[in-house]
Subunit: 293 residues, 2 copies
């Protein structure tokens, strides 16, 4: 059965990713098994106040419902209101060190009757930008997709730039990555293999960056800027993110959905980085759509 | 002209409220005059890092547009897409002392052709609850409305409880107050007088509470709880608040709209207050709809 095959992959990936994250941090993720009154449930694994991660969540859920919310699919509005099954692996890591970027990865699978599709991707949100890191992340995304066709990476890279955009700020969330939705190309096996490849490239895309930056010295200035920029992460997730809205609208488990929010965030009226500062460089050189590979 | 009369009141009220807030804090509000490309503009007055207020914003805006967004009025969907004029006074005060509640007040006026209506209200969001404060705030709201009819306060109090509700948390934002929208009762003069009375009762509703609590000693524990609860304020404003969504959707000035967000906020996975603690008392005794007067 398709659903079971996808779920098995998501559960195995959650274990593997959590083990790799724990090995780097030295801390242990908590494990919460939860059920949803309307059907289904999930496993939420969290690590807070770790040596490396200030807040890290890796969540797997599998739910079914009688009526698909409109936020679940942008391009299949005719399915709104239909019975559905939805499952996904979602992770957001907020490292403590401001030189380590925040990262998000997601793999999801929807089915409604005979219709099914995958969605997912990963994207990187630095506080201080490094060209080397953005290139490595994007190159790994490209490698994940290359076996399935040369046009996937440029399409999904562009989609990511369009999706992770704070329209009210005229800003992207970070340096992007890849995003896809409504994937039902060729047949199930092909689409499943592509989704799996993206998910399995998460650790090689992100861990080398974390290892490179986690020892960088920082002070209050860098923490303040990190908190300010984390405010943008909050704005994006609560105002625009379809996964978050779908979860909150469909009676999802709030604490598991909002594990994506940062441990701390700050807002400051009309704040502008000083000319020539590293904070200004983030805006000028990194928070602009660029071809990284 | 109706629009000018309402705008004059809002501008005078902004001056009077800012002067009263400055007198208590000792600091000075900055003044930003801004214009909106699509028409109109506003005056944003902010005080950050003050002695009493950690972040305080008092904003007046007057904008017009060619197409009214759906978020502008819940009960007049037939006006969506029509040319409109919208003006409002909006304030949010986030005091530094966790024993001082956050407060919000709003007065707004919409017109679209021959149709016009007022909206507004005020509500209180304590971090540590005091029955005396909640009673005083609600009693002042009741007094503001009493001259216009005995049924306004109970209706607008209930409306406030329904509106300022985090459905994904099953929690109210705070201890409520009054909320109204689509007010066009009797004639313009009557509705205007009611809206004015509510706005003019803001200072007597809130300042005595601030004066009573601002000297209370507090430590890291109270600041941590305040930051955690301020996360709820962020969640409400970005997920549910119609004024915020209207502003962001209609190309409003982001920094003026998001002046309502707290200076700092925190999220912590599945956090629960200790049994018998003052933090638990907030949830049990204050974050429940109650008749305060």
């Amino acid at each position: 059965m398709r659903e079971q095959a996808v779920y098995d992959l998501l559960a195995r990936l959650q274990d593997r990713i959590v083990a790799a994250l724990e090995a780097l941090d030295g801390g242990r993720f908590s494990t919460d098994l939860w059920q949803r009154a309307e059907g289904g449930g999930g496993v939420t694994r969290m690590l807070e106040d770790g040596a490396v991660y200030e807040r890290a969540g890796v969540n797997v859920s599998r739910v079914h419902g009688a009526s698909l919310p409109a936020s679940a699919t942008a391009s299949r509005p005719q399915l709104a209101g239909r019975a559905y099954e939805a499952m996904g692996l979602s992770l957001v890591l907020h490292p403590r060190n401001p030189y380590c970027p925040t990262v998000h990865m997601n793999t999801r699978f929807f089915s409604a009757g005979e219709t099914w599709w995958f969605g997912g991707g990963m994207d990187l949100t630095p506080y201080y930008g490094f060209v080397e890191d953005a290139r490595h992340f994007h190159a790994t995304c490209r490698d994940a997709l290359a076996p399935y066709g040369a046009d996937y990476y440029p399409r999904y890279k562009r989609w990511c730039d369009e999706y992770f955009r704070l329209r009210h700020r005229g800003e992207p969330r970070g340096v992007g990555g890849i995003f896809y939705d409504d994937l039902a190309d060729r047949d199930f096996d092909f689409s499943f293999a592509l989704a799996r490849s993206v998910a399995e490239h998460f650790l090689p895309a992100y861990m080398p960056i974390l290892e490179r930056r986690r020892g960088a010295p920082y002070g209050e200035r860098e923490r303040d800027f990190q908190a300010y920029r984390r405010g943008r992460y909050v704005e994006f997730n609560l105002v625009y993110d379809r996964g978050t809205l779908f979860g909150l609208q469909s009676g999802g488990r709030t604490e598991s959905i909002l594990m994506s929010l940062p441990p701390r965030a700050a807002w400051r009226y009309d704040w502008q980085p000083a000319p020539g500062s590293p904070e200004e460089a983030l805006y000028k050189e990194f928070l602009v759509p660029r071809d990284w590979v």
